[in-house]
Structures are given as C-alpha cells and as structure tokens.
Amino acid sequence: MKPLDIIVVEDEKIVATDICNCLTSAGHQVIYQTSSGEDCIRNIHLHQPELILMDINLSGALNGIQTAEAISELIPVPIVFLTAYSDSKTLNQIKRNGEYGFVIKPFQDLELLTEIDLTLNRFTKTYELLKDRDYSHRTLQETETFFRQIVNNVSDSIYRIDLHGNFTYVNPIAVSQTGYSEDNLLRMRYTNLVRNDYKQSVYFFFKNIFEDEINDSYLEFPIIAANGDEKWIGQKIHLIKLRNQITGFQVIARDITHEREFKEQLIIAKSNAEKTAEIKSRFLANMSHEIRTPLNGIVGVVNLLNQTNLSEKQKTYLNAITSSSNQLMGIINDVLDLAKIDADKLELDCTDFNIEDLFQSVVAVFEMKCIEKQINLEWFIESRIPKFLNGDPVRLNQIIYNLLGNAIKFTEKGGILLQVELLSSTSDDVSILIRISDTGIGMDEQALNMVFEAFTQAEDHMSRKFGGTGLGLTIVKKIVEIHGGEISVKSQPEQGTSFELVLPFKKCKEIHSLTNSNEPVFQEELECFRILLVEDNKVNQMVTKDNLEAFKVVVTIAENGKDALELLKDEIFDLILMDMQMPILDGYQTMRAIRNSEDLILKQIPIIALTANAIDAEIKKCFDCGADDYLSKPFKPNVLIEKIHTFFPISQALSLCLKSKSEPINQETFEFYLNGRASIYGFTLKELKNTFHSEWNAMKAEILKRNDSALKMIAHRIKPNLSILGLTEMADITDSIEKMENVVEINNALSFVMVNLPLINNQIEALYEKYEKSNTN
C-alpha cells in the first residue's frame, strides 16, 4: 500500500498517540495533528493532506462532521471518521456522503488501516469522475468562449431567424450594422429591416430555399438601418435543421454598400472606355476615308499625268509624288489595320486562291528594288503544296509584303531567301511553313524581344535611317494569329534575320482550272461598253473616266444617286460603278432603288460599289444593298478593268436582251413533246419559265465566281428544256458549252445563253397568256 500524508484530528491525546503509532508503523506519515476542527481548517492548505482521520467530538465549536464538510469545500480529500458512538443519527450523517469512511472506537489497527484503504479507493474513483465532469464542463466553456469571441469579433453580422422570420439570435455586429439594440432586434421580424420594394422578393427567396431545402444560398438586397440609412447587404444563408426538420435560418450578412458603389463605378468606367474606344475606331475609319479620298485623286491624276508627254525631270518629280503617295497610303492602311485589330474587328475573308500566283505577285513588287540595291531575291515553293488553297489571300499578301519589305529594307549586301514548305497535310487542311531569311543587319537579343511590339524599331535612329511606322510586324503578328498561325524570329547582329511562319489553310473544295488565274484582259471586248459612273468627287470622276476611256469604254457620269436613277430611266448601261458617300441620294439608297425597280433588266444590272471605307461591316452593307462586287478606293486602273471584265458576259447579255430577237419557239415540236396531252400545256409552259429564270440566276452567280465546271453543269441541265421548245440553235450552243475549253468561247456562248433565256421567257409568257385567254373563252 502506498504511504500517505495524513492529518489526525483527535482531542484525546492518548488515542491520538495510538493512532499515530499505528499509522507510522504501517508506513504512513502523520504530517499534522490537532485537537480542533477550526485549527485543521486553518492549516489545511498548508499541509495538503492525502487523507484526514477525524474524531467526531472535538475541542472547538465545530464537531468532526461540520469540520469535514467545511474542508471538502476547500480541497478534495478523503476523510475517515473515528467515533465512539454508534448512534444511528451520526452514522446516517456520515453514510449520506459516500466519500467518508468511519471506524468505531475502540478499533483494531488492521480495522483502521483497512478502512483507510477502502475510503481512499472510494474517494479516488469518485474524485476522478468529478474531475472528468469538471474537465468536460471546462472544455465546453472554453469552446463556447472561443466561438463566442469569433462570433462577437467578426466583421459580418451573424444571426438566426426562425421560420416566421423572427430573429432568434443576433451577434454584436448585427446590432451595429442595423443600429437596433439586441433586445429590439430579437423582438423584430427580419423583413422589417428590408427596403420596401425588396420585401416581397426577399420573402419569396426564403420561401423558396425552405421549400426546396437549399442549404447554401446567397442573396443581396438593401436594408434600412435604425437611423434611416440605406445599406446593401450580401448574405449567405444556411438552413438550421433539427432532426431533419428545418427550424430556421442561419445567416451571415456582410455590408456590401461600398463594394456595390465601386462595382457601379467600374461598370460606368468600363462603358465609358468602350465608348471612347468606339469613338476612336469610328474616328480612324472616318479619317482613313477622308485621307484616302483626296489621296486617291492625287494618285489618279499622277497616273494620267504620267501618260502625257513629260520631260525626264518632270517624270522624276512625278515618281517622287507617286512614291510619297504610296508611302502615305501604306501608313494609313497600317493605322487602320491596327485600329481594327485593337477593336477585334479584323475579319478574314477566306476564298480559294492560287498560292504560287500570290507569291509571284509579291516578289514582283520587290524585284526592281533588289536590282537597285544589288541584292539577291530568291524564292521556292515546294511542289507538294497544292496550287489552290483556301484562306485570306489579301492578308497573306500583306504578311509576305511586310516581311519581304523589311528584309530588303535592312539588307545592304547578300540576299533574301523566301522558302515555302509543306509541313503537314490532311484530307481537309494543309499546314505551310514560310521562311524569309536575309543577310541584313540583324538584331540583338533586346531588339528581338521587342520586335513585335507596336511602334518599335530596333532603335530610334533606325526609324530615321530606314523609315516606316514600326507597325508592320505588329500587324503581321496579329494577322498570323487571327489566321490561326504562329510566327517566330531568329537573328544575330550583323548576321541576318530569319522569320518563320506556320500557317494553316483549308484545302479547296472546288476544282480550279489553272487558266482562270492568269486570264488575260480582253481589251477589245470592252469597246463600247457603257458604264454609268455615279460619283460626286470631281477629281475621282475625272480619273476613273479617263482610265476607262483608255479602254474605249463609254462613260456617263451622274453626280449623285438621284441623277443616276433619272439617267437609268432613259438610257441603257452595261454596268454601274457606284460611289457610296454622296449628297442628295447616297449609294446604298440608290442601289436599293435599282434592285427594287420594276424593270426586269435594269433590276439585274451589275453594280460595283466603290468605297473608301474598306472595313468589313461597310462591305457587308454594300452587298446587303444589292452590290454585286466592290472596289476599295483608291483602286489601280487594271484592277478596275479586270473587275469590270468579270461582269462582261452578264452585262452584255442584259444589254443585248433589249435589242436582240431570239430564236422563235417551235410550237409543233413543243406539242409533239406534250404527246397530245392538252391538259399539261399550261403547266409545262409555267414550269419551263420558272426553270429558265432560276437557271439564269444560277448562271449569273457562277459567272461571277468563274466556276466553269458549274456553268457546264447548268448548260447540261437546260439543254433538254430548250429542245422541248424546238430551240435547236440554243440547245446546240448549250451542248457545245459542255465541251469547250477556251475561255473566250465559253464567255461568248454564255453571253448568248444569258441574252436569250429572258427573251425565250418573254415568248413563253406570250404563249401562256394566249393559252389562258383561249381557255377562258
């Protein structure tokens, strides 16, 4: 048994000595001995006993039981009573509390020691249980304090409401946020705080999350604080559940008034910025128009002047004007492109194109320059690359033009190598590598890092020496990216620079004959071609007119749309060149008026829109108003002529319609094919007329696309229909179209068909009317 520190409280000296001897011999230590309860209580903290032996009758005012009770208030300690009485009252008092033990005097040593042992055991069990209970109680208190501190010190309101909307708990922040005291809040309904116009929606929100048991939700709404201030609150709402029943809501609410203000300011700032950007892009578009128009005039007049007799000196001056104008035009185009890229308005205009022709034409531009600088310019296209690809040829041209121009600009000796290689090819797509390497001045690493940034050339003095806006490569990179490609550059100072582009293209769906691309312009065909030029700018009028007259085209000028419509009433034209921005009646309205006209032939007249505002939206507007094609001002004379030439068969057909007489329908043949069925006479006529009408439109579209295979197919389709009407000459011509290879022959044959189909339809119409009349009679 473990030795204990024991206090003995006994008023009889002899008994006390006896007890002490007994305890000491059992190995225990008597640390204090006293005869009065009061003395024991006074010294209890000093001695910290592990057990007390207590007599009932003591020398002081307190008896043993009272003393024991007082001590147990102070420290937990087991007490064994020594009593001479065995009266039931005292015993009951002692027994009531299980922590006490007792022995009845006189006792045996063993009896005492056993009771001490038992009491100590009992006490230890009880005490530990108590200690445990006490500990969990303290832990609970600590946890509560911990959370209460958090709840009281967060910057968000935390509160609970019951299903009726009454507050059941609010934290101090809720009090300061609302301005109402805790007592007031707990007597309020939640909706009392909500701004009137939101009351209903907040109510329905809570109803909703209750009905659908949405455990996590968020809601923002304004509340009115006690002082009348309006505050915006953003709150997270959780359901409070008790045994799976929703009993209320736990809400964490944040004051988001300032946040909202910032957000609103941001929105306003964003919309302002967007407006500004739009104004900028509109301004740029307008500026480009305003600058291009007079520049167009300058370039045009210079071209005309070049054709007159000039001295060498004058020619040199003229060349200077031309090159300055071209430079200026380049800058305007660059700035406009960059503005478009910035505004995400740059769109690719993908068509099928001949890649070899494209490179050929770009290289041709620089050949003279290279000869002047005495540098080599070589280029290779890998033969595995399909001749025709689908992509944006104008933008590809721009990319190559820029890169090649740069290479030549910065190369003084050696040469430039342009390589085009096939990287990969699937059934639909082709990936092409274009490498442009030069032996020029090159760049160091610092310059390389900035090469694609706007307005940078390696150093300022460079732009003074070499010229240029420094926008070229920025634009190139953006275009390459829009095209879905990549561009990279390698360079060493004094060693040269190498640009590598990887560009994806689609393979062409239609098969192109190679003759289409290099088609010569047939000057003689345009003789006596009648063009109506609708243009208000005097210089442009003169330039375009002179350029066209060089091809013996007959040009009539209308100052504006209204004049044009007047002229069209009486005169016949093969084609209209229509400026868009004009006083009185602009190009768009004029085109609409023409397309809506009752005159079947005038309605179909080809119109080429002339626009200085060459942005995609503008071009789309031109087409929407009825343009067949467009030209971006300023345009080179040969581009204009080529474009007009594509319309030649249609224009000719239309104008011939007015004066020709078509092959007459053979009534007998037609009736033969009806096989004596008079019932289908009218119906068949109508069907024929509809077919011819739709095939005419299809032909027009394919002529503009120069799609010979489709044209042959159309010819094939209409041939039997012509035969039914006994139009053998027409049928023969359509038959021959299928076999023709020569472009001129096809054009002529197509013109013939285009002229005659409407005339045949007129005949059919007449027959039909006759038939109708005979039927009603």
């Binding site: 009806l674 096989n675 289908i680 197919m713 229909n721």
Partner: protein, 120 residues
Amino acid sequence: MKKVVVIDDNPLMFHLIKGWLNPNYIDVQYLNSLDKIIPMLNGFKPDLIISDILIPGISSTELIALFKQIAYPKVLVSSMDIQDIEFFARQIDAINYFNKPINPKLLFQFLQDFFASNNK
C-alpha cells in the same frame, strides 16, 4: 396498276412523263435526288425506274455502283451523246435508254411492250 419512278433533278421531265401516261393505269412517282432512293423503292416497289445519269450530289461512278445494287428494271435517260448513255446503260444492266428530251412516242411504245411482256 403499274408503278414507275422518275429520277431527275429537272422536275419538268417528271411532269412531262406523268402527263403522257394515263393516271388510271400507271402511278408515276418522282425523286429529285438519290438520297432517299433505297427506302423509297422498298416502300413503293416500282415496276420500272426511269433515271437521269448526271444527278447533283453523286458522281457517275457512285451512281453505277448504286444502281448495280438495285434489282428493279432500269431505264436511263440523259442529254449526253447517245454512245455515252449506252455505255452507262450497259454498266448497270439497264433494259433501255433514251436521249433527252425523251421522244414521247418511243417511250410510250417501249412501256407498252415492257408491261405486256411483264404480264405474261
């Protein structure tokens, strides 16, 4: 009642053939493409197919392959040269072929003979 299918991208040809034939004896149906030919034939079960050769959406090689699978009697019509039509007709075992526009008298005669021999 005899049943005939006309396949041609030019609806006029169908209207004419239908117009020539007596609707009380011959039911003429029309297809302007070959997309739905198989289900159509399975449902209609014609006695004869009259088809053009050049039909948009299908090459002549594909057309031959398709027609080889079709067991119904076939007649080809086209505005091609007659030798070319004959070539195609042989490829697909067509029982006859005509130049476009079809001479109604010839077609009429052919149909009469064809249906007469079929009835035996």
